[in-house]
Symmetry: C2
Subunit: 256 residues, 2 copies
């Protein structure tokens, strides 16, 4: 028996998220079915991040145990022939038998994409949240700085979360702007909020994105964001931004 780690990219648009469900198709179920077809074993995978419906990934991570003679690094290519185009395994490797992707210490990086244009762009409608009004990106950058470091992120977590501690550390928040057209007279652009941290609460990145959008719209001051953080009040933060703008970019495991 050996434990294999997979790095997985997917377009979340047409799936009901990562975690297996009874009445809806999920990424976990498709991966397990593909692994069972490939190995002939009943395979149970454990994922690093249970992304929600509509959330995309460049590098989610999962592990499974197998007696298959397939060389560990060959699983990526072998699996892809069993998977739909919307899901690709980009890498596979052997890991220690006790390695668990959800509990091992890691740095996670997410991207949140905002399509900031007067008219939504059809070829980005699956992969970005459209905001019509011209966003003040400098104000968003300025407001984001108070979130960096170790904090209690209660204000940036959906109610109903069961976790004991809401203390997490954000290492960096970068907001990058990419113009969409070469010769645009308007503010047509993709705004990417890229966040790296040691862990994220339920909906935390989407609430941070929703809050920074409020700042960009001029509805919240940067001080309001700091107030939400220190007062730990969810209703002082902004709304949860839609799932389709969120990408799990990568998970960097410190022990590996």
């Amino acid at each position: 028996m050996k434990r294999i780690l997979l790095i997985i990219a997917y377009d979340g648009t047409d799936y009901a998220g990562w975690q297996r469900q009874d009445n809806a198709l999920t990424v976990e179920e498709i991966l397990e079915d593909a692994l069972t077809s490939l190995t002939g074993e009943a395979i149970d995978i454990a994922g690093a991040s249970r992304t929600d419906a509509g959330v995309h990934a460049y590098g989610n991570v999962a592990v499974f145990d197998t007696d298959s003679p397939i060389p560990p690094e060959r699983f990526a290519i072998a699996l892809n022939s069993y998977l739909p185009d919307a899901i690709r395994v980009t890498e596979s490797m052997v890991v220690p038998d006790d390695f668990h992707p959800r509990y091992a210490e890691s740095e996670k990086t997410y991207q949140y994409h905002i399509l900031n244009t007067k008219i939504p762009l059809p070829t980005m409608s699956r992969y970005a949240h459209h905001v019509y009004e011209d966003l003040d990106v400098d104000a968003m950058r300025s407001a984001s700085s108070c979130l960096i470091g170790e904090h209690d992120f209660t204000a940036f977590c959906s109610a109903g979360s069961q976790v004991k501690s809401k203390v997490r550390t954000i290492y960096s928040i970068d907001i990058d702007v990419t113009p969409l057209y070469e010769e645009s007279e308007d503010y047509d652009r993709d705004i990417c909020i890229r966040i790296t941290g040691n862990g994220f609460l339920y909906n935390m990145v989407r609430i941070i994105a929703g809050t920074l959008i409020e700042v960009g719209l001029g509805r919240f001051t940067p001080e309001r964001v700091e107030q939400a953080l220190t007062q730990k009040k969810r209703d002082l933060a902004g709304p949860t931004a839609p799932a389709k703008g969120l990408f799990l970019e990568m998970i960097d495991y410190l022990p590996l």
Copy 2:
């Protein structure tokens, strides 16, 4: 009666191209139905470019005649509420009654996107042609230069085209490379071939892309491309690259 021009962006993935057909859904039919719902008139539109199934557009152009009292520049926003997310009208304006988008003198710009990675990226699978092998972009650039200028592009046109003259002028071909990940050790990147010209033959951009990919793979020398051009032989050029990598970026009308 006045003539209105529309600039239209669409994701071509789920449509059978631009031109109205009996048994398949097309962009033209959806636009005409939306215009009829909006104005109450039986509207017939004339498009600039009859893009094929799967081809995308940032700026295709169409005109129609109407007696509607809606101000010309308001058609864009009014129409979008009748259209699916995959089709957006980005601009509308009045044009002279005799303006025809297919026959008026123009400069057209197309983009062809190649996803050059070991593993295809799910969130780009609708919008780029995947090539596994590391492409030699310098060789592609060098080979593209012979195509610039006024030439007979018979070698770069699908057989069966009915046009009289196959002489067209290409003003520029730029090949831009964008890395996909910040910290990639591999050649993971988006290669965009951007071509501007006064007109293009049937499948011309896709055959140019397919030919430059052969050069990038080392199967064709740059001299072979020049030979195809001067000998006007379709079989000396490369295959027609898939529709999904092609974007009609914009049409710049000289008289407007």
